[in-house]
Amino acid sequence: MRQQNSIVSGRYPAIGDHRGWMLRGFRDGFPIAMGYFAVSFALGIAARNVGMNAVQGFLMSLGMVASAGEYAAIMLIGAGAGVLEMIATTVVINLRYFLMSCSLTQKLDPKTPLWKRFLLAYCVTDELFGISSAVPGYLDVAYTYAATAVSVSGWCLGTVLGVVVGNILPARAMSALSVALYGMFLAIIIPPAKHSRFMGCLVALSMAASWIFTAAPVLRTISSGFRVILLTLAIAGIAALVRPVQPDDTPAKS
């Protein structure tokens, strides 16, 4: 009865009401799954373009659950990158998950067993981190698990369909879908610029530097993976020196 009320009213379930939290997680996972579907469909098309099949696309999305990370993975596979470049690029591009995980450790009841923590680590994406951080008090991990089950299903389904029917779609539709990922990235990096001129400058500077590195002689010979690593280490490092974040700052959410 209690959990039914909480679902109907849209309020969070009571502490210890695992079933209520799970249902709430299924519900909150649904809009995330819809967004994931569109984005992962574009990932599937990109994966197909470098010669990956549906099973490989499915395994990639199930194993990585990372938009920018998977995009980079596809680029690296397409470019025939070596193992070291793959690991280095994956570490740098997904470094934000490290920070999100650090933050989530603080949302857990200290009594949470290690296996639940390991399962929660799999669930750390921009969106799932966002909704998990937003709950009041300690996080009931059933909530995050449920939201992950729904949204990762959409993520994997989109990837597989992107690989399988991506070539059935007309060229115009494929061209249009190819910007879905970039649109999603913009939705993560642009909103903070609204409240902070520094963040706006940081994003603009990063784009300008990236453009120079793809156009300028010598610099353009650097592979796209290492370009991302070099520019991220340099620009984020300088930004951290110039403008350290406040102690109460939360990590970036989408």
Binding site: V39, G63, G82, Y97, Y122, S175
Partner: protein
């Protein structure tokens, strides 16, 4: 050394998981080092900005539709910043503009 696709996926999936899981094993306290905190805070913005531009312009059939998608994506992000709306707006922009740009 060029690994097969499956080995590549295994390596990168394991790497991402280790990144996500490591804090749950190691960290019992907040990060206090101001530089490290700040650096990690800025990383996603720089990384995604670098990956978005100029790639968005070369992803589409016409560079102009890509540029329009960038502009529309930025504007929609400022007005209503949720993932789905922004991604969809950029896609629709490319589709509509290429009706005129690409023949």
């Amino acid at each position: 050394m060029k690994p097969s696709i499956l080995v590549s996926l295994l390596i990168m999936s394991a790497t991402v998981y280790v990144i996500r899981a490591l804090p749950f094993v190691l960290l019992r306290r907040n990060i206090t080092n101001p530089f490290l905190r700040s650096f990690l805070y800025y990383v996603p913005y720089v990384t995604l900005a670098v990956m978005t531009f100029p790639a968005i312009i070369t992803a589409t059939d016409s560079p102009w539709s890509g540029l329009l998608a960038l502009i529309v994506g930025v504007v929609v992000s400022l007005v209503r910043g949720d993932l789905f709306t922004v991604a969809l707006s950029s896609c629709v922009t490319v589709f509509l503009s290429e009706l005129f740009l690409v023949h």
